[in-house]
Amino acid sequence: MQTELEQYSFDFHKETAEIVAESRDELKIKIGEFAGPLDLLLYLIRQEQANIFDIPIATITDEYLKFVRLMKKLDIAVAAEFLVMAAQLIEIKSRMLLPRDPSAEDDEEIEDPRKELVDRLLEYEKFKAAAEMLYEKSTVEQAVFARGKIDSDEHNAEINATVFDLLTVFEKVLARHKEEVKMEIHREEVSLAEMIRRLKTRLRSEGELSVIAIFTEMETRREMVTAFVAVLEIVRAEGVKLLQRKTFGDIILKEVRS
């Protein structure tokens, strides 16, 4: 399912969608925002000044399809629901064209193929009006302000969290956890050569290094092992000595200048 058309700011009183100009090679429209296929349909019906209980289905279907094509042309993401509605309209249109079944009894009510759509439109329109009511209320409400902070506020805020917060926070913790695991793996990738290079650079600038301090700096066992091997390697190959100044004391890595 594609993402719906969403998150444009919308002013009920100012914005409408309208076809601005239509010529053979160009179709200009000013699109407000349609909250869905039902919204678009209502707009087209109103545009045609048609009666909702007697929708001129052929005209409306053509208009609807024109609009959907236009949205595609303009590279506006057309949600799948718009296409589903298009198919439904075409179906209703074709059912309207079918000749009446002659075997049907005269007094038998034949269901208008448009009835279900009309019911949905009427139901939808109520909520659309309710949305407008909410819009107006929030506009008024935005002109009302609560008091500024006072001293006692700091000490008596209620637990202000919902299950959604709980879940979002949990997700974040898990994501962070994953991140940490990744970083650990990254650190483990410090190679022996790299470790030797690092130790040598530090030895050169600091003169001597505490072996215990080096090992404590290591974050993982793997790093510690690498560091240990690196120390042995440096002592073996370079002019570096291991010193222990007292029994069980710290072992010092010291450069021997020749």
Binding site: G36, A130, D153
Partner: protein, 185 residues
């Protein structure tokens, strides 16, 4: 009742009214009559009468403030008439408006709660996922448990924040959805 007794009773009522005003002010969210009557140890009816008088007094003296009923409680707030100055002072702009899709979704949730995502889709005729996410993030809606039906879908309803945001006393303060029927036909 003697004159002195009357005078002392009047005095007590004044003290009580002051306390009510002070508590409505210190509370960081709308305060219920019940909580006020608990703290002040007085009948709820008396507290209500005192609040009504306070509301009237603020209105009559044409104050910059008002006491009003919102989200199930009483709150002291600025009057709408001063909003331009207040906004200039706080350097705030009107907060971002909800998108049309979000508003519609919210309307469906407000009137049909508790309601599931498929039920919202049924009415709106379009997916409402990102609208619902926005509304959850803005705390205008909350989850209302899982529905005991196939797939156990999550149910949604409006929050206290919703009442505050739209300045509603409670959910019954919403106009009836059937009233909109007359408007649209």
């Amino acid at each position: 009742m003697t004159k002195t007794a009357q005078a002392s009773e009047k005095r007590e009522l004044e003290d009580l009214s002051r306390a009510v005003e002070a508590l409505i002010f210190v509370s960081d969210e709308p305060v219920t009559t019940r909580l006020l009557s608990d703290v002040l140890e007085e009948d709820r009816e008396l507290i209500e009468a005192l609040i009504e008088d306070l509301v009237k007094a603020y209105d009559e003296r044409n104050a910059g403030l008002q006491i009003r009923q919102v989200a199930g409680g009483w709150q002291l707030s600025t009057r709408t008439e001063c909003h331009e100055y207040v906004r200039k002072f706080l350097k705030t702009r009107p907060s971002a408006k909800l998108s049309l899709a979000a508003l519609e979704t919210l309307a469906v949730i407000a009137y049909k709660q508790p309601v599931t995502v498929p039920e919202i889709l049924e009415i709106r005729g379009v997916q409402s996922a990102s609208a619902i996410k926005t509304l959850l993030e803005k705390r205008l809606i909350v989850t209302k448990g899982l529905k005991e039906t196939v797939g156990r879908p999550m149910q949604y309803g409006t929050s206290k924040e919703f009442l505050l945001h739209f300045g509603l006393k409670d959910l019954t303060d919403l106009p009836s959805i059937e009233d909109f029927q007359d408007l649209v036909q």
